[in-house]
């Protein structure tokens, strides 16, 4: 009877029902088919408890600050600064795209916010300069995931909450891997600029460096306020997300100014985006509860023991699982579903929770730009008006390079751990 659940799931998925409701319906069918129907009564309380979590609030708050940055001209200021720094190189706007994501990352905690912002602004400019739509969109999506690796980061906050690991340590650990990722993407863009003879900005098009720097300075203060506030103990990460909202409002007022309509639209988008994510979280939680009743976590731990996987092998298996999960699940969903299930075994085998958090989050971020679900791909294809599957093809080389970076992070934990250790956040040697 239990086969009814996946069968119903696939039929509903193909019918064009939104994913959250597909998962929700399949869970309900699975409860009934496994003779656990009376446990459906836990659903309302479970939905409430999964959302009523203080640490989760960083997510809507960072979505909101991203919205306000985009509407208040902060994003445009960051693009201008990037143009002044790297615009004159061959493939200039491609580099600008990556560098803007690095700046953006210091303020925003979300890849989707970055992807939405830059596909709105930079992709049209790149097209005008003669880049193909698919290349401009692919590099936008590929570099958007720098956002959640460099702090602040919704994904790392969520992991920290799930694993009771210091978010501050995770944030510090994300900085070097994020910059490494940016360097790898700069290299890919340079290669394409050489091969396809991509244009550079002319002297007139590139803004003057020094003047632009001073104009952008207030926007550059934002990451210092947010990350510094967390590292130096002025606010918890969730509170810092709230500070980011008001800081973005303040800086936005300095630039383009925010109309009441802009702010309302930002609030509206925040509610709707968060709502979609919450619905997914709750639907998956329903399925997770059934798994717990049927003792699935114990079965997985037993399976790992039975296969006799060592720490390295298990970490590699984890990577593959999370990579696949990131392709078909949304990030918070994959984290909520898999981290409590799979991470404890890795920790028991001696993995460092901070290193594990960076590796798993990086993994899921790659999932964000990998089909079929790839959240950032969906956003870029919608905003830049490019066919989803065409974009999916164009992004493949970027994904391969990012998997190589991931391999480096797995092989050399110090890339992640050196910085938190320097600040005294990682114990041991």
């Amino acid at each position: 009877m239990i086969w009814l659940a996946p069968a119903a799931g696939i039929a509903l998925l193909v019918s064009g029902l939104a994913l959250a409701y597909v998962v929700g319906a399949a869970s309900v069918v699975a409860y009934l088919a496994s003779g656990n129907g009376r446990y459906l009564a836990v659903l309302p309380q479970q939905i409430f408890s999964r959302i009523d979590v203080f640490a989760l609030m960083a997510m809507p708050l960072f979505i909101l600050s991203g919205e306000i940055m985009n509407r208040g001209g902060v994003t445009r200021a960051l693009i201008r600064l990037s143009m002044a720094i790297v615009g004159r190189l061959p493939g200039g706007l491609g580099h600008v795209n990556i560098m803007t994501s690095v700046f953006f990352a210091g303020i925003s905690g979300s890849a989707v916010a970055d992807a939405a912002a830059l596909s709105n602004t930079l992709v049209p400019s790149m097209r005008e300069q003669g880049y193909t739509n698919s290349y401009a969109s692919a590099i936008t999506a590929a570099s958007s995931i720098i956002g959640p690796i460099i702090p602040p980061s919704i994904i790392l906050i969520f992991y920290g909450a799930l694993m009771s690991t210091s978010v501050t340590a995770l944030f510090l650990a994300g900085i070097v891997p994020g910059l490494l990722l940016a360097c790898a993407l700069f290299a890919v863009n340079a290669f394409y600029a050489w091969r396809d003879d991509h244009p550079r900005l002319t002297r007139e098009e590139a803004p003057p460096l020094v003047a632009t720097f001073w104009q952008t300075a207030p926007a550059l203060l934002l990451p210092l306020i947010i990350v510094g506030g967390i590292v130096f103990g002025l606010a918890t990460p969730t509170e810092a997300a709230a500070v980011a909202v008001f800081a973005a409002l303040g800086v936005g007022a300095l630039y383009d100014g925010l109309s009441r309509k802009d702010i309302l639209e930002g609030l509206r988008r925040t509610a709707v985006l968060s709502g979609s994510i919450f619905m997914l979280i709750t639907a998956v939680a329903a399925l997770g509860h059934l798994g717990a009743l049927e003792r699935l976590p114990e079965a997985i731990a037993a399976l790992v023991a039975e296969l006799g996987l060592g720490p390295i092998q298990y970490l590699i298996v984890l990577n593959v699982v999370f990579l696949l999960a990131g392709m078909v699940l949304d990030v918070p969903v994959a984290l909520a579903l898999l981290v409590p299930l799979l991470a404890p075994v890795a920790l028991a085998q001696g993995a460092d929770p901070v290193h594990l958090g960076i590796v798993l989050s990086f993994n899921l971020c790659i999932g964000l730009i990998s089909p079929p679900l790839g959240g950032c791909l969906l956003v870029v294809s919608a905003v830049a008006r490019i066919d989803y599957w065409e974009l999916a093809r164009a992004i493949v080389p970027f994904v391969i390079v990012e998997i190589v970076v991931l391999g480096l992070l797995v092989a050399f934990p110090e890339i992640s751990l050196a910085l938190p250790r320097a600040f005294g956040f990682v114990g041991g040697g």
Binding site: A11, L12, L13, V14, S15, G16, L17, A18, L19, A20, Y21, V22, G24, A25, S27, V28, V29, L40, A41, V42, L43, P44, Q45, I47, F48, I51, D52, V53, F54, L56, M57, P60, L61, L64, L234, T238, E239, A242, V243, V245, F246, L264, L267, R268, T270, A271, V272, L273, S274, G275, S276, I277, F278, M279, L280, A283, D330, P372, L373, G375
Partner: protein
């Protein structure tokens, strides 16, 4: 036909109200979370209710936002183009989608209201009516009500989408 038109209007009207509620809730969340930081450094003793109010405002924001996302079909969807299929195949798909959503929505609504032996008092809302929020001293039901409210809205939108499918020309493809 009249009933369908009424349903579609009702769904649109309720969605506008939900949207304003969600916007308000996001604003409340951001302000109380921000106020918590300010209060800690300016008054040295932050009020006890900021954390809880912010968290509970997020619940309302998220649930109302989820209903709006359902109404405007902006939830993550792997095959969004299926929505614009018409004819008998489109009708079958629309019915299947509605049935699927209902399979998830109805148990949540049912158990929000009714508990063991069909008792209202022991349904989810009935149970939380008796419980007080930790810091604010008001009934938890003020916050837990977000769940049946949102799922009721979704149910209405679901019926309205069905009504629209069978009575109106195709909408433009969602972005």
């Amino acid at each position: 036909m009249r009933a369908a038109a009424f349903l579609i209007r009702l769904s649109a009207g309720l969605n506008r109200i939900a949207l304003w509620g969600a916007v308000l809730a996001v604003a409340v969340m951001a302000f109380s979370a921000g106020y918590q930081v300010v209060a800690r450094y300016v008054f040295d003793a932050p009020p006890v209710w900021t954390e809880e109010l912010a968290r509970r405002a997020m619940v309302w924001a998220g649930m109302l936002g989820a209903s709006v996302a359902f109404h405007e079909r902006s939830d993550p969807n792997l095959f969004p183009h299926m929505v614009s299929v018409r004819g008998s195949r489109g009708a079958a798909l629309a019915l299947l989608r509605a049935a699927g959503a209902a399979v998830f929505v109805l148990p949540v609504l049912y158990y929000s209201l009714l508990g063991p032996s069909f008792s209202l008092a022991r349904g989810f809302i009935g149970r939380t009516l008796e419980r007080k929020a930790e810091m604010m001293g008001i009934s938890m039901a003020w916050f837990t009500a977000a769940i049946p409210v949102a799922f009721t809205l979704i149910l209405i939108h679901l019926l309205a989408q069905l009504a629209r499918h069978f009575t109106q020309p195709p909408e433009s493809t969602p972005a």
